[in-house]
Amino acid sequence: MALSIDSPKMESQNLSAFYGGSRAIQDINLQFPDRKVTAIIGPSGCGKSTLIRCLNRLHETIGKARVEGKVLLDGEDLYELDATLVRRRVGMVFQKPNPFATMSIYNNVSAPLRFNSHPSREVMDETVVRSLKHAALWDEVKDRVDSAATSLSGGQQQRLCIARALAADPEVLLMDEPCSALDPIATAKIEDLISQLKKDYTVIIVTHNMQQAARVSDFTAFLYLGKLVEFGPTVDIFERPKEHLTESYITGRFG
């Protein structure tokens, strides 16, 4: 539990989040190491998604939602910075692929550039290609970047969403159960991609799939009923958990 990481990329301090009067997470203290994959696991409703939605200040966009505590990014409290600027540094991929249905593949990936920084056409072309390559989608779409984003399969759409998030040039990438709407083959592709991405990005992934957490992550945090139960290197969590609750969960006794 009291694992300490040198110079974490992100860190939550006594983080609590509320929906109106009900508290979804309580006093979470977590450190997310730089350029590693950290998995957040736990049963449905334990606050995993709420937690990562606090890390890019998306939680507060819901009416009556509220956050207490701090989230540090490179030592700076996110909640004292401009929310839109925070979200450019902390990208997010959602549970269900959510490409902009009215836009082409190209325009989806270039959206963060077109709406935020308005670079030249060359820079934009270059970023789109790089992001699509980075998201392992380029080879499949290079001949049809102008066709509708909705013409892609579910797995391709999710990689498109990853490419779109990367095009904003984030430092951290949040993934909220990115494979739960995908078939096993598409899931395997995304998992491969995650291990590539950690070379350049700090990845934080929420998953209800423990095998997935074991496969892709370097560190794992186990949440239960809105509280952090245990945090440590993934091998430790899965092979020698310190908490009885963690052991019960990963051996499938509940959840």
Partner: protein
């Protein structure tokens, strides 16, 4: 016993099918009759001259007298001006109200009040809207009380709730995941709203605007009150008295002269055609949107 029941059930089922079928016929008959009658009486005089000529001298055929047919260029232009001007006022206000109540107000009590207000406004009788604008314009500038401008304002009052309500519906059909996707990319709220959410809702918004235009294009009551009567004049400025198709239908149909009555039917046909076309286009855009939302 069993046999009886199944027979009764079948008879009942058939009976109900026939009754509901009759209801359809009861709806269709007036529509078809109106279109048929209008085509019959208005179609005869349908020619290009309708769009280029002004109203003729009032005249009924007698031995030794040939009547001019004349045309509807003044009422047609008037209707176009009224539609353009009233849309210019009503569309931004309606869309703005919808954006506020769906995108920004969300759960606030004020947004609910806006919704309630637009419902009540939608139920305001058109003549009351006309009287309201009459009083308002009178305060502002008595010289333009009877003008295309004040007619347009009254029509705008009728259009705003239609645009607002249909836009709200259209914005609500845009999944929340689209808004979150935009926000999560660090796109600011207003840019996300204007350039992503609104664009996604565009077919629904177009539908709403077309329905509102169809409603106001056929409206006569506030125009009888506010437009004055310049149907026989050549075209005048927007701050002068004007003319419109519904207004001319009223005048033409009640005139004693054969050529005016015939022109009134032609005007009715044009108006009916315009409204049918608008309704069909708006229905088609809505279908296309529904198809896209299903991912087709």
């Amino acid at each position: 016993m069993n046999f009886d029941r199944s027979v009764r059930r079948k008879v009942f089922s058939r009976g109900m099918t026939v009754l509901t079928g009759l209801a359809i016929v009861a709806i269709m008959v007036p529509l078809v009759a109106v279109i048929y009658e209008t085509l019959l009486l208005g179609g005869a005089d349908l020619n290009l001259g309708l769009f280029t000529n002004g109203l003729p001298y009032p005249c009924s055929p007698q031995p030794g007298v040939t009547c001019q047919q004349g045309g509807l260029v003044v009422p047609i232009t008037g209707t176009i001006e009224l539609i353009a001007l009233s849309s210019l006022v009503a569309v931004p206000i309606g869309i703005g109200a919808a954006i506020f109540s769906v995108e920004y107000g969300r759960e606030s009590p004020f947004a609910r009040i806006v919704g309630l207000v637009s419902d009540v406004l939608a139920g305001v009788p058109s003549i009351v809207a006309g009287a309201f604008i009459y009083a308002l314009v009178l305060l502002y500038d008595p010289s333009i009380v009877f003008s295309t401008i004040s007619g347009s304002l009254a029509l705008a009052v009728l259009m705003v709730p239609i645009v607002a309500r249909t836009c709200e519906e259209a914005l609500r059909t845009v999944p929340n995941s689209v808004r979150e996707a935009a926000l999560a990319l660090g796109i600011s709220r207003w840019k996300a709203t204007l350039r992503i959410t609104l664009v996604s809702a565009l077919p629904g918004i177009v539908t709403g605007v077309l329905l509102a235009v169809a409603r106001s294009a056929g409206e006569a009551a506030p125009l009888l009150l506010l437009l004055g009567n310049a149907c026989t004049h050549p075209l005048q400025g927007l701050n002068q008295e004007g003319c419109a198709l519904p207004l001319f239908i009223y005048q033409g149909a009640t005139a004693p002269n054969a050529n005016y009555i015939a022109l009134a039917w032609a005007a009715a046909l044009l108006l009916l055609g315009l409204i049918l076309v608008l309704s069909v286009i708006s229905r088609l855009t809505l279908n296309r949107m529904a198809k896209r939302m299903r991912g087709g």
